[in-house]
Amino acid sequence: MTTNETPRGSIEISPSVIATLASHAALQTYGVVGMASPNLASDIAASLTRDPNRGIAVRLDGAHIVIDVYVIITHGTRIASVANSLINSVRYAVEQATGLSVGQVNVRVQGLRVSKTE
């Protein structure tokens, strides 16, 4: 739970909210074709999911929010470029919506997807 004290009351933001924001931003990032569960590589197939927090781990490191994003990237893109865009988008989306500062966004590329025609 991330708490922000203001003179007129406190604002608490649950990690799952942050995860949802991060997930949304991740899925809009070009080159990301799926979220992956951190542990189960076999889960890759079911990458389109209704669980909004899938593939996202949010934790607090002191005062900083650290977001781990587990993704599947489309084959044929430069992974480093996609990952960099992903970091920027997730950070921006979370900071914009919550006003909190994001310490780190770590991208874990769990898989590549080769599209059918190639």
């Binding site: 809009q28 990032t29 080159g31 430069r78 865009s85 988008s89 599209s115």
Partner: protein
């Protein structure tokens, strides 16, 4: 960036087909037209992250694509396109650059077995480009470069049915792409809110339009681009040494069992702006030196050299100056308000540089003396913009930056600028006053570890109590202090503490509340409305009341604040 390609003859093949070499020049024209407009594209960038680099990212991607294929003599369009796609992918940067590289891959895939480009093939290529790009994301967002690419493909398919003229088809493609671009704000609300069209889409339009212009026989001038980039050039061309600009030396060293770290350390000793990267077999070296012979002789003792480039930077600078019609060398690190007699701090690229906000020229001088490499002028009533802060950050030639906003209203803009400075690691120390900034600078060590130095500076900022003396602009009651408009007020660490009609009595009471005789050093920074003699007189009378404290009087030059006090 070269315009040479445009001096070449127009495409040799007729307007109904285009071979590999002609296509190469077409793509070059697309790149150059984007080059000319990339700054505009940058300005449009609001989605998905408004970091203003879409145009640059797309241009880098295109440059790499063209570079990859430059030496390819093949007439086979499939081979040329495949190589362009490969170059685009390897050089892709950012979201839009990645999409662009995917477009190229789809296009190249459609052309792979063909020798020359026919109208049908152009249509199919654009179709497949768009399809491939759409497949690269789960939730394709309409109103972006994807939309522009898709509509361009549709236009090509429609046109290919009733004409075989490549120029005519491309003309319609560009028209439709522009039309789609103009409609992007209707599809993506954030664009409408910002009052812009999609930046990636506009980049794609420029590339297509550049190709069309070339086919129509127009030559793309690149002069304007040079002017547009002149500002960036000004910093890179700033003299880095009193001996002048020296030489830019680049080469690739090939050998067995090379140790990159040893080579880097050795090269680093020889000059500045060192960049040494590579593996055991090959190392790429870039360094600025006064004698290009030194690094070359050193390297040749380790292995074989290739791709040697030696450029005279003095000449480059003089050419630059001639073109710009000015004899003055560009200022380094934009020392706004800095005094010439303080030499700028010398920093290596892996040092820590400090950028700070100063509210007066005297304060700027103090900051510079303490080692600040970049200064932004601004304060209470004229907060600098994020862009101004960002410019100052980017003018400092170090990768690690510590940023001191020195005003609570500037902290936010500073943090924003820090985020936008993607090429540098920027740490913002949230200093809320000029004295806090000065105090924070005391433990600054350019050679230290960024985290350690930042931590020390963060601690140091609280070693000081700040007092500010100004005139109230409206009547107010705050913290139990009644103030009438026009009265002199004293603030302690940003909180209203004292109000009165007499400057020296307010000064005395403020000081009383600041340190209560426990501090050691009291500094008065007098503003631009106060004469030095007056400030000294005031200080003398104060020092009589504080026999155990040391006093310093410094010209601050700040507006609105008669005095800024610091007690430490």
């Amino acid at each position: 960036m070269t315009a040479k390609a445009h001096n070449a003859a127009p495409p040799p093949s007729g307007p109904t087909a285009c071979d590999g070499q002609a296509f190469k020049r077409l793509v070059q024209a697309g790149r150059d037209w984007l080059d000319r407009h990339h700054a505009l594209v940058n300005q449009l960038n609001v989605f998905p992250v408004p970091d203003g680099d879409t145009g640059t990212n797309m241009l880098m991607t295109m440059r790499n694509a063209v570079k990859e294929v430059e030496a390819n003599p093949s007439d086979h369009i499939g081979q040329v396109a495949a190589q362009i796609a490969h170059g685009a992918m390897m050089g892709s940067r950012g979201n839009s650059g990645t999409i662009l590289s995917q477009l190229w891959q789809g296009f190249a895939h459609a052309l792979r077995d063909h020798k020359s480009l026919t109208p049908e093939l152009l249509a199919r290529g654009l179709r497949e480009a768009s399809d491939t790009a759409y497949r690269g994301v789960i939730k394709p967002v309409e109103g972006t470069i994807l939309t522009v690419a898709r509509e361009a493909a549709e236009a090509a398919q429609e046109s290919a049915r009733d004409t075989h003229d490549l120029v005519e088809i491309l003309r319609r493609v560009v028209l439709r792409a522009k039309d789609a671009l103009a409609r992007t704000p209707e599809m993506l609300p954030i664009l409408q809110k910002a009052g812009v069209v999609d930046s990636g889409g506009s980049g794609l339009v420029y590339i297509l339009e550049g190709m069309l212009l070339y086919l129509q026989g127009e030559q793309i001038e690149v002069e304007e681009i040079i002017a547009a980039e002149a500002r960036d050039l000004a910093t890179t061309l700033a003299p880095e040494d009193e001996l002048g600009y020296g030489y830019d030396v680049q080469f690739i060293l090939k050998g067995d069992g090379l140790d990159v770290n040893t080579v880097r350390a050795a090269i680093d000793q020889m000059g500045w702006s060192t960049l040494v990267v590579g593996s055991q077999d090959a190392i790429k070296v870039h360094v600025h030196v006064h004698d290009p012979g030194i690094p070359l002789s050193y390297a040749v003792s380790l292995g074989a050299l290739s791709d040697i480039v030696v450029e005279n930077m003095q000449e480059q600078f003089q050419d630059y100056v001639r073109e710009r019609g000015t004899a003055e060398p560009p200022a380094k690190a934009q020392p706004a308000g800095a005094q010439a007699e303080i030499p700028p701090i010398e920093l290596d690229s892996d040092d820590i540089g400090v950028v700070t906000v100063a509210s007066g020229e005297g304060l700027a001088r103090v900051f510079r003396q303490l080692g600040a490499a970049g200064l932004v002028m601004g304060g209470q009533t004229n907060n600098p913009s994020t862009q101004e802060i960002l410019d100052a950050i980017q003018h400092v030639p170090t990768e690690k930056i510590i940023l001191l906003p020195n005003n609570k209203n500037i902290i936010l803009a500073a943090e924003q600028a820090a985020r936008l400075a993607t090429d540098q690691t920027v740490v913002v120390i949230p200093t809320r006053s000029m004295p806090q900034g000065i105090s924070a600078l005391l433990p600054y060590d350019p050679k230290g570890d960024l985290e350690t130095v930042a931590e020390a500076m963060l601690q140091a900022k609280d070693n000081v109590v700040t007092g500010e003396i100004t005139t109230a602009t409206r009547s107010v009651e705050l913290n139990g202090v009644q103030v009438a408009s026009g009265q002199i007020i004293g603030l302690v660490d940003g909180t209203l503490a004292v109000a009165g009609d007499n400057l020296s009595s307010v000064l005395r009471s403020t000081l009383e509340q600041m340190c209560s005789h426990t501090c050691e050093l009291i500094t008065l920074y007098f503003g631009n409305g106060i004469r030095e003699a007056e400030a000294r007189q005031v200080t003398d009378s104060l020092s009589a009341l504080y026999p155990d404290q040391e006093f310093e009087v410094v010209y601050g030059g700040q507006a609105h604040y008669h005095y800024i006090l610091s007690a430490e």
